[in-house]
Symmetry: C2
C-alpha cells in the first residue's frame, strides 16, 4: 500500500495502466510477461502494478525493459480467488490487489485498469468503487467476437455483468455499445442489432419488443443505425457491428460459440494425426491453418470491457497467457488514449437528459424505470 | 385428400412415416430424394405423403424404388410458407400439406411426422392437433449437438418452441430430454445439466435455482443423473448428455454455435485457396477435413424433435438437402420403432401423478403451476 510514483518529467506523456498482477489462472508470471510484451511494442504505456511486491519484484527484475515502465507499485498481499463470492469480496476485499487496481483508476492515478481475476468480483468492486454513470441502471460487459464484417469483429454486450436487462437497460447497452464501436473499432456510425429468436417484429419476449421501439427512437441521437432484431447466427455475421442482449443470453451464447470453435479445432488436430498421409498434409496445411488461427484467435481480442462506470476496466480472460494479457493491456491503452470513458459519459448523459425531460422516452418505459434515474 | 392405402399384407410390418413434401427451402425435390434415400437403406420404412399430387407424382415416378413405398397419398394443394405467422396458420391452415401430415399421426395412420417447413407453424399445428401430454405445460424442441461425449452428440432442449420456461417447465424438459436420450441415443441413465452462466449454485436467475432443486429431487424417479448447472461451453462438452434451458436461450445458443462453426469452415476454405502451396495442402488434407466434416455435419443429425405432445413430430432444417431429409426420416423411424411417444407419455404421467399428490413437489413450484395441470 505504499505508492512510489515515478516522477520523471520526460515520461509525462505516458498513459498509465493499472494492472492487477494476481488472480489469473496462470499466476503473476503470465501478467508480468504480458506487460513486458506491451511495453516493448508501445513506448507510451506505463504501469501501476498491484500485488505482493516480494513476489512480483523478482519476476519484474528478470524481465528486461520492464522495471523502468512501472511508475508505481502498490504492495498489497491479499488476492481475490476465482471461488470468492462477489458479495464477500465487496465486504472484505479492500486489501486485495484487485481492489487496489480499481482504486488507482478511481483516484486518477491510472487511466484504465486490467485484471485477469474473478469476473463477478471485479464487476462488483468496479461498480462500488467507480460508481455507475448517471442514468445507467446496469453496467455491461462488452466483448469482441470474430465476424464476417470488414473490421473482423463484432461487439457483443452484455455477456455477463448481470443476468437480466429490461427495455431501458437494453437501450443503454445499445448506446454504450455504439460508443465503444466508435472508439474501439473506428466505426463512425455502427450498426446495432437486438438479439432475438427471429428477425420478424412479432417474435420474442415482451421486453424485446419494447426495447426495439426504444432503440429505434434513439438511433439519431445516439448516432447509430438500428438494424432491428438479429439472431445468434448474426453474432459471427455481417448484419450488425454491435449485438445487444441481456447478460444471461450473451454469456451462454459466447461460451457455446467458444466451446464449439474449440471442439472443431481439437477434432481438426485429431483428424490430421489420423495417418501418415494426413500428417504430411498437416505440415503443408500449417500456414493456412495458422492464418485461420490468427484470424479467430481469441487471445488477439482478449478483453471484456466494463461499460457504464466512471472509468475504464478491462477484464482479461482468466486463462490468458502473455499474448492474451498483452492484448487486454493494448485495449485498455487504446480506450484510455481515445478518452473513451469521458465520451461515453457525455453520450449517456445527453440521452438521460432527454429521458428525464420525457421528450422522447415512451411512457411505459419511463414509468418502469424510476429506480434507474439516480 | 384421397388416401389410397397400400394394403399388401407382406408390408404390414412397415412403420409408416407421414411426410410433408412442401414448405422447405429446397422444394419437394429435396424431400422426395431424401425419402428415396431412406427407403433404399431401410426396407421397413413406408410413407404417407402430403402435398399436391399433380406436382409430386412425376417426381416420385422418376425416382426408382420409391412409389411402392408410398402407402397413401394425401392430395392437398395449400402450402405453409416460411413467412406465414403461426397464429394465421392455426386459423386458416387446415388445407395445407403440413396440417395434413400432422393429422396422419393424430388419426393413427402414421407413427411419426416429418416436415421441413416453418418451425413456428409446425409447432402450432402440432400442439393444436396432437395436444399436449397431460401434465405438460410447454412442449419443447430437442436437437442433437456435436459434443465430446462417446455418443458424439448431446441433446439440447428447448431450442425454440417457446421463449420462456419456468422452473416446472424446466423439470419437464429434463424428464422429456432424459427419455429422448434413452430412446434416441441408448443411454440407460443420461446425465442432465441445467444451463446457467456459471456452475456455482448461487449464480443465475431465481427460476433456475428453483429448477435446480426440482430436477435434483426428481432424478431418481426420472432415472437420470443430475449434474447441476452447466455453461454454454458444456453444450459441445462431455459434462452432460442432455442440456436443459428455455427456448430463447437455447435458440440463441445453437444459432451462435452454428454460425461460428460455419464461419470457421468458410475461413478454412479461404485459407486453403490462398496460394498454390495451400491448394496442394488442401488436396492432401481433404480426407482429414472430410472426416471432420462428417463428424460434425449438421445434416447427419438433422431433426428437431417436438417433445410433450401426443405423437412424434420431427422438424427437419428448412435448408435440408436429400441427406438432411433422409436423416430426419431416420430419426422419426427410430423413435417410432422404439415406441418413444408412448414411453414418454408414461414417464411424464408418472411424475405428474406425484406432483398432483403433492408428494415431492415444493409448494412454491406447485402453486405457480395450476395452469399446467390440465
Amino acid at each position: 500500500m505504499t505508492p512510489q510514483p515515478d516522477t520523471d518529467g520526460a515520461l509525462a506523456r505516458r498513459i498509465l495502466i493499472s494492472v492487477d498482477a494476481m488472480g489469473g489462472d496462470n499466476g503473476a508470471e503470465a501478467v508480468i510477461a504480458g506487460m513486458a510484451k506491451s511495453a516493448e511494442k508501445n513506448p507510451d504505456i506505463g504501469y501501476i502494478l498491484h500485488g505482493p511486491r516480494a513476489e512480483l519484484e523478482p519476476l519484474v527484475a528478470r524481465t528486461p525493459g520492464l522495471s523502468d515502465r512501472i511508475h508505481a507499485w502498490h504492495d498489497v498481499s491479499e488476492v481475490v480467488t476465482m471461488e470468492d463470492k462477489p458479495s464477500h469480496v465487496v465486504r472484505h476485499g479492500s486489501g486485495t490487489s484487485m481492489w487496489s487496481a480499481i482504486d488507482s483508476v478511481r483516484d486518477g492515478e491510472a487511466k484504465a485498469a486490467v485484471s485477469c481475476g474473478n469476473t463477478g468480483a471485479l464487476m462488483a468492486i468496479s461498480t462500488i468503487r467507480l460508481r455507475r454513470l448517471p442514468g445507467v441502471n446496469r453496467p455491461a460487459i462488452a466483448i469482441l467476437w470474430p465476424s464476417r464484417n470488414p473490421q473482423g469483429f463484432n461487439v457483443m454486450l452484455d455477456v455477463g455483468a448481470d443476468v437480466r436487462a429490461d427495455a431501458r437497460d437494453l437501450l443503454q447497452f445499445a448506446l454504450m455499445g455504439a460508443s465503444y464501436a466508435r472508439n474501439g473499432m473506428n466505426l463512425a456510425r455502427p450498426r446495432i442489432g437486438l438479439l432475438n429468436v427471429g428477425t420478424e417484429e412479432h417474435k420474442g419476449r415482451p421486453e424485446l419488443k419494447e426495447a426495439h421501439t426504444l432503440i429505434a427512437r434513439y438511433a439519431e441521437t445516439g448516432r447509430f443505425d438500428f438494424v432491428g432484431f438479429v439472431e445468434g447466427s448474426d453474432l459471427p455475421g455481417a448484419t450488425a457491428d454491435v449485438i445487444v442482449t441481456d447478460g444471461f443470453t450473451g454469456n451462454v451464447a459466447i461460451k457455446t460459440g467458444e466451446g464449439t470453435a474449440t471442439l472443431i479445432s481439437d477434432l481438426l488436430r485429431e483428424g490430421f494425426q489420423y495417418s501418415f498421409l494426413s500428417r504430411i498434409a498437416a505440415l503443408l496445411a500449417l500456414p493456412s491453418l495458422n492464418r485461420l488461427k490468427k484470424r479467430i484467435d481469441p487471445r488477439r481480442v482478449n478483453g471484456g470491457v466494463f461499460l457504464g462506470l466512471n472509468g475504464t476496466v478491462v477484464k482479461s480472460h482468466g486463462r490468458a497467457d502473455a499474448t492474451g494479457v498483452s492484448a487486454a493491456i493494448k485495449l485498455a491503452f487504446q480506450l484510455a488514449q481515445s478518452g473513451f470513458s469521458e465520451k461515453l459519459a457525455a453520450r449517456v448523459a445527453s440521452v438521460d437528459e432527454l429521458a428525464q425531460d420525457g421528450a422522447e422516452l415512451p411512457e411505459k418505459a419511463a414509468g418502469t424505470h424510476n429506480e434507474g434515474q439516480e
